[in-house]
Symmetry: C2
Subunit: 154 residues, 2 copies
DNA sequence: ATTACTGCAAAGCATTTGCAAATGC
DNA sequence: GCATTTGCAAATGCTTTGCAGTAAT
């Protein structure tokens, strides 16, 4: 294992949720939204996990047991937490699979404007070389990579 | 408009489909699969488009009219074309949204092993700097970027 | 008390699948 | 003629939503 691989060793009763919670409270107050039990439960569970997770899994996890929170509320809370910047949705914008034909195209990447939906394609040898280097370092055989930049065209 | 933005000026009766078709035929033969009308229609339509498209849109487009092909067949053909390397699915692997909490985490990217599902996180200043440079060049204000590398861990 | 939030179950929606009929070989 | 593929419609699986009841302010 390569030394710089991000390690995530956290104890179960991680207290980062406790640290972060007041910030979420502030965020909710700012939106005239309420501080509820269900939101606290979801918030804690998100911070108890230190991996990527699916909204669906979290919802399933919380659908039974003492800290019961319904599916709908889990999704709604996750959305709030995303707005507040506590979680990131790994696949924002792209709700469904998109395709493009690549015959005769070079591999390229996209700048996607969140206002208009326009996109600009670009490619960069600097980036592909760097990715090659990183893969080599991690003994990883690359099949393809994908880079998307979200923002706004000024 | 920036000069190097990829322009895609193609005439309607683009002939790249005709050029590429024999290769697809070869691919299908190699799999003992059949060369059918429906496949040809989908193939042509994909090449007639020069933008990103959704499988669903294409299916809707082909669900009526003279060149009728059913939804199921569109999806199945798109899958074959992906295997054959004529199209790329912009969002492969990730069928549903994943989340991760980012409080206290630096922005990072992932190498995802397609065999085991394992992933390695990494970050690279070289890459973020290059992206900044490209955004600047295109007068683009970046909100976030996402980079994923698919492959196998050896 | 008022208003937002929750739980539930139903609706949505892209995608997949089963199966009888059609088509390619 | 036989096997694969198609079309259709039903099923799937995640996500969203409407609404009546519940909790927060």
């Amino acid at each position: 294992m390569s030394g710089d691989q991000t390690k995530k060793e956290h104890v179960a009763g991680d207290h980062s949720a406790d640290e972060a919670w007041p910030l979420f409270v502030e965020f909710l107050r700012g939106k005239e939204s309420r501080i509820t039990q269900a939101r606290r439960i979801v918030f804690d569970r998100v911070f108890a996990r230190h991996d990527h997770f699916r909204a669906d899994d979290l919802a399933a996890e919380l659908s039974s047991g003492p800290d019961h929170v319904s599916r709908g509320t889990v999704y709604r809370t996750l959305d709030l937490m995303t707005q507040a910047g506590f979680v990131q949705k790994i696949r924002d914008q792209e709700v469904h699979a998109h395709y493009e034909h690549i015959y005769g195209h070079g591999r390229h990447h996209h700048l996607i404007c969140e206002d208009t939906g326009e996109f600009v394609e670009f490619s960069s040898k600097v980036i592909s070389d760097e990715i090659d280097r990183i893969c080599k370092k991690h003994n990883f055989t690359q099949r393809l990579h994908r880079l998307v930049v979200f923002g706004t065209k000024v």
